[in-house]
Symmetry: C2
Subunit: 200 residues, 2 copies
Amino acid sequence: MSLRDRKRARTRQALVEAAADLFERQGFEATTIAEVAAAAEIGTRTFFSYFPAKEELLFPESDLRVHAAVRAIAERGPGDGPAEVLLRALHTVGEDSDDLSGRLAALRLRFIREVPSVRGRALQIQFDAQREIARHLAAAFPGELDEVGAAAMTGAFVGAVTAALQVLLEDVDDPGDPAQVQAAVEVAVDRALKPWLTHR
Amino acid sequence: MSLRDRKRARTRQALVEAAADLFERQGFEATTIAEVAAAAEIGTRTFFSYFPAKEELLFPESDLRVHAAVRAIAERGPGDGPAEVLLRALHTVGEDSDDLSGRLAALRLRFIREVPSVRGRALQIQFDAQREIARHLAAAFPGELDEVGAAAMTGAFVGAVTAALQVLLEDVDDPGDPAQVQAAVEVAVDRALKPWLTHR
DNA sequence: ACGTTAACCGCACTCAGTGCAGATTTGCAA
DNA sequence: TTGCAAATCTGCACTGAGTGCGGTTAACGT
């Protein structure tokens, strides 16, 4: 890894951290890109060579989780069916916990509820991730699943969990509390996937 | 309905039609709000008292379809279970065919694929609609389904169909052809919901 | 006919995001 | 070490979305 790359990664990280600070303090819309750039000590114009839009500051490394899911599919056991593999793959998605990613996750959740453009971006990322996972799932079960079947199955799983989670999060009093959120996720997965687990 | 309201409705319609023309000719991003407003003979500033954002021009009356689905739930037969009701409700969603709504639907599909902000908005609208439908479904089966269960079920249906449809539409050569799109929708519904129909 | 209310619309403004061009830094090879 | 090419940084000028304000016009109820 060259000096250039390391420096670039450091600046990128600085941008995310600076943004997290400012977003926590002022909210998303009230924070301008110029402020974030200034806090990370780069020019406003340069910001756009790191992130294409303000929303992306809330979703750095969103592909990491997709990769984890893809890896989980690749490492399936010989006796696993599509549903089991998919279930384990989606389980890996909800797992990371730096300090920063914890803060970011809380902010993300907050702004997904408050700011339409953030919600839109989040849904798009989820949708794309879903598609990618379905592609690999289809590839992993060539005889059993085609592209359409894999997509439908993945969409059903993700759609069920997401919708259940949305309802559960409406009743959480403090969305900043990781424990409550974590609990809601588990309940959502459990409730959403019960039909598959009991009936097959 | 007062004169005021009629005039307002006419202006709104004129905006949608003007936008459809311009979007068809120039694309979404290359068309400015000022152009749309001028074509509908209102001031640029006034546009924003009809639509809060440019994307909304592609989704006028998005609540009509939700209402249709809600009505379908309300008009369920005595022997229907949640899955049947939901299935019929979702079926009503894909049904309308003015001249204008046909043109608009084609444009919508095109820009959902081309323009990120439009895709984001579309997903948001779908998500909200889904939530609303789930609410009514839960209310229709008080003993059988709670809010979370209804949301999960609706999310699974909609997620499965949407994901399948996405894959099918990737292979359509002319997305402007209503017949091909219609066919893809039917295949998507069929393939996505097969698990429910066969196993229960 | 008249006062009230809502719609219209121009003006000035903020901010996101882009294109361009010049300066600076880094990587690599002679 | 030196020199050159490529990538990066950054200011400047610009477009376009969207908002707040204030004055004007048009429709409504009485």
